[in-house]
């Protein structure tokens, strides 16, 4: 419990300092000015969500090869965290694009890929909710998760090929290689603090899922015993 309080305070301090650094310490960007500061929330959310989806993919494969339900628990925990981070990215993106590009959204390769990625992992979570049997849920959703992850590079490639053959939409250049050193330090701090929030959430969600599995197993066992004719209640008053 003490560890929990200390780590919570530590994460809170990290998030606060990252927010402070992004808003006040990072230098002003020459063309976009204050609006550009959303970059320090947008990019870390994308990095964490992509990491989470890679964890989903790895745990899907590990589940199918080892058949241990703990990997299934990790898969669902990472998928939920990934969808949450991806949603942050999808909300902060248009907020940044509107004043800078003049449009909320453009069907550019990266935006489209992220959006389809988001849809795919929502489908993954939806599928899990609709499969009743725990073993079936674990193996079938793992298969879908692998297909979804394999699809991501294909979505990106197809959109890239497609957009290069069409006129480019109004598109502002990305952050070039000449980023101010303070900017990259602040960005690093923001990425670390985003991970510091996401990893405990992931671990907690993982534990919750494991508890749910244990609860389901115990309940099943109790039900089997109650319906078993040999069952004799003990411990009560005769």
């Amino acid at each position: 419990m003490r560890f929990r309080i200390i780590s919570t305070l530590f994460v809170a301090a990290l998030v606060f300092s990252a927010g402070y650094a992004a808003l006040f310490i990072a230098p002003d960007e020459s063309t976009m000015h204050e609006v550009q500061r959303i970059f320090y929330f947008h990019v870390p959310s994308w990095i964490t969500s992509f990491t989470a989806f890679a964890v989903v993919f790895a745990s899907n494969i590990l589940y199918l090869t080892t058949r241990r339900l703990q990997w299934d628990c990790l898969g669902v925990a990472a998928a939920e965290v990934g969808v949450a981070c991806c949603s942050i990215g999808l909300i902060t993106g248009p907020l940044w694009a509107r004043p800078v590009w003049g449009i909320w959204w453009t069907w550019d390769a990266r935006l489209t890929t992220t959006f389809i990625l988001w849809l795919l992992y929502i489908s993954y979570l939806l599928l899990r909710g609709l499969l009743e049997d725990p073993q079936k849920r674990a193996s079938l959703s793992a298969i879908f998760g692998i297909f979804a992850f394999l699809d991501v590079p294909l979505v990106y490639m197809s959109n890239r090929l497609w957009r290069t053959q069409h006129p480019q939409p109004v598109f502002f250049g990305e952050q070039g290689s000449g980023v101010d050193p303070t900017m990259s330090k602040v960005l690093l701090l923001c990425v670390i603090s985003m991970f510091a929030v996401m990893i405990p959430v992931l671990i907690d969600r993982y534990r919750l899922e494991k508890l749910r599995h244990e609860y389901d197993e115990l309940r099943l066992e109790v039900e089997n015993r109650v319906t078993d004719p040999r069952f004799v209640p003990t411990g009560g008053h005769a």
Binding site: L64, T112, I116, L119, L120, S123, L126, L127, L130, L131, E132, D133, K136, S139, L140, A142, I143, F144, I146, F147, A148, L150, D151, L154, V155, M157, S158, N159, L161, W162, Q165
Partner: protein
Amino acid sequence: MSTTRAAAILLAKELRLEFRSREILTATVVFSLVVITFFSYVFEPTAAESRRYGPGLLWIAFLFAGSLMLHPSFAREQNNETLDALRMAPITPFAILLGKLLSNFVFMSLTELVLVPVFAVFYNLSLAGIAGRLTLVLMLGTLGLVTTGTVFSAISAHARMRELLLPLLLLPILAPLLIAAVEATAGLFAEQPALDRTWVAFLAGFDIVFFSASWLLCNFLVEE
């Protein structure tokens, strides 16, 4: 029994089942016709406009039809509890998947065989001189659609609300296939028809990736 022979027997069984009832094919063709008709309200179907929007429309009709048509593939086995019988047969899980996949490929190809000429007539497009190349694009696109669709039909057959679930799982995965197939078809419907090799290669790549994945994962797909 070899996998190919087992798959051939299963394919024959699926075809016999379908040609006795003709439920799936009729429903799929009619559904696609409805979609194609409705698109005529969206734009003015002159030849020039059709060249612009036609390929996208055609493939959206096929993908929607496919996402509905592929549902019974495994759901029917699940309802009649015949999947257990298939599992107990001395054949590999891949043979079960392959038999289903091939029969779905046949059904989808037959639908396209009816739809494409009707589409060409309705939207003033000429198929003369491009039939061979168009068949190649259609076959590659259809293979990708039925490969992912058959696997997802096996997944969704175990779920609640499975009719709704299959399109939700399938359509986002097919986004790259849609782009590639539409672009390749658009090249053929252009005033100077040309087959875009990049997109044909992309379609083939899509098929190879997901066919291999299905082959590797099919043991987990049909297990008890």
